[in-house]
Structures are given as structure tokens and as C-alpha cells.
């Protein structure tokens, strides 16, 4: 008796089991990630004088044209880019340096890592309120300290030229502990023999850091950079509470504009257009960073 062809071992058999296992994750992502992204994209091609779906009418790329003529949107996007750079310059770099310094500290490194991580556990809203007081020009301890050491205080959150940096410092204070933790985990995977070999080859501390630590921390660095870029581009809560984008839009970011247009003006389609552009910018930046690092790695 001949075997049925579908029972032939050479024929690939459809195995439903893996799909069942990933179905919950796919359904979750579908509902909460993919559907909103696609819906925002669709909404961005329509407009509505009322904000209600029954009044939508097709405008094609009209919202996108309007968006790129919107000076405030361009300014917000620029602030987001600055926020990304500041967030990389301070918490990521500081986190990396602290993690390296802690690496040789035996058991005490866990204690320090925990201490550095504490600000991360403080809700952004609470951090904003507390730092507002710290920054207060009349009663804030920061200006009192500066004046005590002979420097002049500043109206940190009222000065348009420094407000974005001042608010970013709050975010950095919250975030650097997280970076320390990730880099410490990465450092644990680097074999001590590599450092011994480097020492034998005459490498100093800086050369060990550049030629051993950095390349072998590549995955952790990619993760932190991408995570920082995504987080910085969609940043909202801290700025909303601390300054709401002011004064005079000097600390406004795209997330705030989206909130304002959707929740306060009822212009959901315009807000969806901003969301779509923001998603694209995040994707592009993330891909560029990942590709750059992967390409460098292949080049090595």
C-alpha cells in the first residue's frame, strides 16, 4: 500500500503549534501597536471640522503639507532632536563611565548601582514637581547654592535659552541609573582574560576602554541608544508638568503638540499626522543607529 503523498517525509508539514504560541503576543501587538499606527496613518489623510469620524473628508497629503509649513512643529521637532542629543550626551555617557568605574568594585558595585537607580523609580510627574522647587529662582536650593559659592543664580525654567537643558537635566537625573544598570550587565559578560591580554600587550586604561570595553559592549550600547532615541522622541510627561512647553514654546516637543492638537483643539487628524511623522522619524533614527553599529562591527 502506497503512503499518501502528504505523509511524505520530504514534504514540509504545516505545524500550527508555533503560531498558537505566538498568537497571544501577535493579538496584543495587533490591537495596541499595529492597529493604532495604521489608524493614525489613515486618519492623517482625512480632516474634519468637528473632530468626529462621520464628518471626515479626504485631504490626501494636505495635512502633511500643512505640517511642514508649521513653524511650531519644526521647532518642536528640533527640540526633540536636541533632547535626544542631550539624553545621549549626559545620562548615557555618564552611565557608561560609572558602570566602568564600578566594574572593579566587587560587591559594593551592586550597592552603588542600586543608589544610582533610585531616581528611575520616581514618577516623572513627582520628579518634575520636586525639581521645579529646586529650580525656583527665589526659594530654590540650586540658586542658593550657586550664590553661596559666588555664582549668580538663574531663572532656570523661565529663561528661554536654557529651559530645555534645565528640563532635560531632570530627565537625565532620572535616567542615568538605568543606563548604569544596563552597561553593568553588559560588562559582566566581558571576560577578564581579555583585559589581561590587553595589559600584556601594553594597553593602558584608556586603550582598554576603547579597544576592549566599547566593542564588546556593542549590544548594550545599541540597546541603550535605540531606547534613548525612542524615549526622547516621544517624551511628554516631564515637560508637560514642568513647563508645558513654555515659556514661549521654548521647551515644546512634538508629543506636547500632539496632545494639544488632539485633546485641547479636537484636531485629531492633524495630531495623527504629527504622530505618523514622529513614528517615521523614530524608525529612521533607530535603523540608522543600528545599521551604523552593525556595519562597523562587520567591518571589524
Amino acid at each position: 500500500m502506497r503512503e499518501a503523498p502528504w505523509k511524505d517525509a520530504a514534504m514540509p508539514r504545516f505545524n500550527v503549534r508555533p503560531y498558537i504560541f505566538i498568537a497571544p503576543a501577535l493579538i496584543y501587538l495587533g490591537i495596541w501597536i499595529f492597529y493604532p499606527i495604521i489608524n493614525a496613518l489613515v486618519l492623517s489623510f482625512f480632516d474634519s471640522p468637528t473632530g468626529r469620524s462621520r464628518d471626515y473628508f479626504w485631504v490626501g497629503l494636505g495635512n502633511y503639507i500643512k505640517l511642514f509649513q508649521d513653524d511650531l512643529f519644526i521647532k518642536s521637532l528640533y527640540h526633540n532632536i536636541l533632547w535626544v542629543l542631550l539624553s545621549i550626551a549626559l545620562p548615557v555617557v555618564l552611565g557608561l563611565l560609572l558602570a566602568v568605574l564600578l566594574a572593579g568594585r566587587g560587591r559594593t558595585r551592586l550597592f552603588y548601582a542600586s543608589v544610582y537607580f533610585i531616581p528611575q523609580t520616581v514618577a516623572a510627574v513627582c520628579a518634575a514637581i520636586v525639581w521645579r522647587w529646586i529650580y525656583d529662582p527665589s526659594i530654590g536650593p540650586l540658586n542658593h547654592f550657586l550664590e553661596a559659592v559666588g555664582l549668580s543664580g538663574r531663572p532656570w525654567l523661565a529663561d528661554e535659552s536654557i529651559v530645555l537643558i534645565a528640563v532635560n537635566m531632570i530627565g537625565s537625573w532620572s535616567y542615568y541609573g538605568f543606563c548604569v544598570l544596563i552597561f553593568m550587565a553588559g560588562l559582566q559578560n566581558i571576560s577578564p582574560e581579555l583585559y589581561d591580554a590587553a595589559k600584556i600587550d601594553g594597553a593602558g586604561a584608556l586603550q582598554q576602554f576603547i579597544y576592549v570595553t566599547i566593542p564588546l559592549l556593542r549590544n548594550a550600547i545599541i540597546f541603550v541608544l535605540v531606547y534613548t532615541i525612542i524615549g526622547s522622541m516621544k517624551f511628554f510627561d516631564l515637560i508637560f508638568v514642568a513647563t508645558n512647553g513654555g515659556p514661549n514654546e521654548a521647551s515644546t516637543v512634538v508629543g506636547l503638540r500632539i496632545y494639544w492638537h488632539s485633546m485641547r483643539e479636537g484636531r485629531f487628524n492633524y495630531a495623527a499626522t504629527m504622530s505618523t511623522i514622529l513614528t517615521v522619524v523614530i524608525l529612521v533614527l533607530s535603523v540608522v543607529v543600528i545599521r551604523q553599529i552593525v556595519t562597523d562591527d562587520e567591518g571589524v
Partner: protein, 437 residues
């Protein structure tokens, strides 16, 4: 049919009919308001008393009440609810003027005109309040608590510094100089994170440099914002900034922090309004609090301030029982509850006839603040930020911040206001004072 079956049949019928009768008798009313127990709309204690009476008189009405924070939280929630098609029967929120126009245009609101006729609301409300809440000849909201802006000051510090209540522009600048010399902040001022405090001061100043008609003209979009009286108002505020009249770093300071400067004696005063009278009178030591209105600056423009309703009661166009919703509004705004609102809620209802303050058990300073402001009601300017469309609000908040911070020219700010007004006009969201037809 056995007796058991007959009994069961009768039982089922009884149950069904009693259920039907009970369902017919019971009514449901969903209400969203902002009457909290502290902060800017702290009339919660008053409303509890009024609701207890309502429940007693309406035992079959099940009321589902939600309380939201005053200001933007209630407004955001309402706007989401209205656009999603599932709103409460009655809500108490604050957009009038352009905001109300937009709601009414979209068919979100029930026309309250028949109820105003039925319950005699026309006789309870002054014309200015009616005008702010009408569209196309129909009344769409019942404006409730009165907002006025003036200066709360520490009378003990004023006496210590030998200061009198300012009677002129020179007096204001002198007050700033004397207070600064003595190490006090003359006027506590915060303009962050929203810039509504600066927007209110700007409105007050337009009332003093241009008067009510100028305010009406710019709000209705019949004239450019870039006109001499408005420019003058901003220049006057800048003069105050230059004279160090305000808290250092005011553009980065929050409202509560500026109030704290008054409470702790660091500031001689705060320039704000009726909406915090409960908190301020409760936080100041006895005998230290008094109020005054900013004086007239020019001989030919009388003393005035800005005013509006703090918020207003609305009925959703698709309310389950519009008559019941209107009855509820009439109940809570009934004149018999005036003592409760005033004495227990520190909220002063908008009334057509002047309130006789001698009969109410409130601190004299409260009566004084409202009496003076209401005497000027024909001269006062409508609050800019509660009257313009939302897109103009953002330009107003951020623009006043920019001008007072010295980073934005007055001309650029006012031209930007004109541009935003043009956008609002395209959206049909420019306020037109309504008239009863």
C-alpha cells in the same frame, strides 16, 4: 392548571409588572462637575448640601456624579466624551464664547432656551452672562460662578511699608519700588506651566488701557489685535517687569508656588481672582488679607478688570432625560441656595440683581471683592483665554510668556494672534455675543 402553576404564573406576572413600574418610575441622571473641596473650585461642601436636598426631593432619581479637577481636566474629559458620542447628561465646564460656539455648532449641546423661559432663568442672569452663552439666538449654557480678577494683598505689610492702595499708574510703580527696597516681592506672579495667569493680567490691562469695547472687538475678530490700546497694555506690563514688580523667574513658576509667596509673607500681594478666594482666605493669618482692584490708568478710561463665568452648566444634546437634566440645573442654581453657595462653597453665583452682602456670613473681604467687581460689570472685559478658540488660547498663553520674558516682540505676538484668529474663523470658532431673540 394546578393551583401551583396558577400561583407561579401570578408571581411571574407580578414580578414583571412591578419591575416595569419600578423601571418607569426610576430615572437616571449622569452629572460631571468640578466641585472639589480645595483649590480653584472648592464648592464641594456646598454641593453636598444641595445634593442631599435634591435626593430627598427626587427619591426615584439615581444620580451618577463624577468630579473632575477644575481647569483643563474637566474640559479635556468633556471634549473627549462629546466627540466620542457618550457624554454625561449634565456637565459643568468652562468654555464659553468660541468654545460654546464650537460645541453648539456641532450639535453637542441642548438648546436651553425653552427651559430658560419655563424656569425664568432670563430674570436671574445679567445680559453679559447671557451673551457669552448664546449662539444663533439660543441659550446653550447656564453660567454659574462669577470670576473677577483683582489684587489680594497683605495689609500688615502694606502698613509696615507705608503703602496705600494704588490710585494711579505712578502709585503702582512706587509700590513696586518700595516693596523691592524692603526686600519683598511686590506682586507674586506665576506664568507656568500654562500661561493663563499672564493672559488674565493682559486682559485686565486691556480693560484699563482700552476698555470693554476694545476687548469685545478683538475677541470677535472685528479688529486686529495689533492696535494701540492692546500694544499699550503689553507695554505697561513690560514696564512692570522692568520695575521688578513680579516674582523673579515668573515664567517658570507655578500657580501654587506664587500663592505660597503671599502666604509666607515673601510677597506683598498676588494679582489673581475669585477662583482662589477660598484657599487664600483660609491660608492668610487673620486680619492680614485685603483686596483692591488695579486703578484706572487714564482719566478717560474708567477702572475695570476682566470677568467671566468660572464655568457653566450644559446639557448634552442626547441626554437621556433632558427635562430632568434641566430640572437639576434649575434646582442647584435656585436662589434659595445662594447662602449655601456663598457661605459654604465660597463660590459666588452670577446674579442679575446685586447681592446684598450684609445678609451673608462671610469674611468682609469676600463681600468687598465681589461687590466692587460687580459694580463695574458694564465696564469689564471678557476674559480672553476663556472666550477665544482653543488654537488662539495656546498662542495667547505662549505669546504673553514670550513678551513678558523679553524674547518675543509685541508686534510678532499680536500678529500671531491675528493669524490664529484667522484659523479659528476658518473653523467657525470665533465668538459672537448672542442676543435673545
Amino acid at each position: 392548571m394546578s393551583w401551583l402553576k396558577k400561583f407561579a404564573f401570578v408571581l411571574v406576572l407580578t414580578a414583571l409588572f412591578s419591575g416595569a413600574v419600578s423601571a418607569q418610575d426610576s430615572q437616571f441622571l449622569e452629572v460631571w462637575d468640578q466641585w472639589e473641596f480645595y483649590g480653584m473650585t472648592a464648592a464641594g461642601p456646598a454641593l453636598e448640601v444641595i445634593h442631599a436636598a435634591w435626593n430627598e426631593e427626587h427619591p426615584n432619581v439615581f444620580m451618577d456624579r463624577s468630579v473632575f479637577g477644575g481647569g483643563w481636566p474637566i474640559r479635556n474629559a468633556i471634549e473627549l466624551a462629546l466627540t466620542s458620542g457618550d457624554a454625561p447628561d449634565v456637565f459643568y465646564s468652562w468654555p464659553s464664547g468660541a468654545g460654546l460656539t464650537a460645541y453648539a455648532q456641532e450639535g453637542y449641546l441642548l438648546d436651553l432656551t425653552p427651559y430658560a423661559d419655563k424656569y425664568g432663568w432670563w430674570d436671574r442672569l445679567p445680559d453679559w452672562a447671557i451673551e457669552r452663552n448664546m449662539w444663533n439666538g439660543k441659550l446653550y449654557a447656564y453660567p454659574w460662578e462669577q470670576d473677577l480678577e483683582y489684587v489680594y494683598y497683605n495689609s500688615v505689610i502694606f502698613e509696615e511699608l507705608g503703602l496705600d492702595i494704588p490710585q494711579s499708574w505712578e502709585d503702582i510703580l512706587n509700590w513696586c519700588a518700595v516693596a523691592n527696597e524692603a526686600g519683598y516681592i511686590p506682586i507674586s506672579f506665576s506664568n507656568s506651566p500654562d500661561g493663563w495667569q499672564g493672559a488674565n493680567m493682559f486682559t485686565d490691562m486691556v480693560a484699563l488701557t482700552g476698555g470693554r469695547q476694545v476687548g469685545l472687538d478683538v475677541l470677535r475678530g472685528t479688529t486686529s489685535w495689533n492696535r494701540p490700546e492692546v500694544v499699550d497694555a503689553l507695554e505697561k506690563l513690560l514696564e512692570m517687569v522692568d520695575a521688578d514688580c513680579f516674582s523673579p523667574g515668573f515664567n517658570g513658576k507655578h500657580y501654587g508656588d506664587s500663592l505660597a509667596e503671599l502666604y509666607t509673607g515673601r510677597a506683598t500681594s498676588v494679582w489673581t481672582g475669585t477662583w482662589v478666594i477660598h484657599d487664600i482666605s483660609g491660608n492668610m493669618a487673620e486680619g492680614t488679607l485685603d483686596v483692591f482692584y488695579m486703578p484706572a490708568i487714564y482719566d478717560d478710561i474708567p477702572q475695570a478688570t476682566h470677568m467671566s463665568e468660572g464655568s457653566a452648566y450644559y446639557i448634552w444634546a442626547h441626554a437621556s432625560d433632558p427635562d430632568l437634566a434641566a430640572e437639576y440645573i434649575d434646582f442647584v442654581t435656585d436662589p434659595r441656595w445662594l447662602p449655601t453657595w456663598i457661605e459654604e462653597g465660597f463660590a459666588i453665583p452670577i446674579q442679575k440683581d446685586p447681592i446684598d452682602w450684609s445678609i451673608y456670613d462671610v469674611a468682609p473681604v469676600i463681600g468687598k471683592a465681589f461687590r466692587i467687581g460687580q459694580e463695574m460689570q458694564d465696564l469689564n472685559v471678557d476674559a480672553f483665554h476663556t472666550t477665544v478658540a482653543p488654537n488662539v488660547v495656546r498662542a495667547l498663553y505662549q505669546g504673553v510668556q514670550g513678551v513678558l520674558g523679553g524674547e518675543l516682540s509685541i508686534e510678532d505676538f499680536l500678529n500671531n494672534m491675528d493669524e490664529e484668529m484667522a484659523v479659528a474663523a476658518e473653523l467657525g470658532q470665533v465668538w459672537e455675543p448672542g442676543e435673545r431673540m
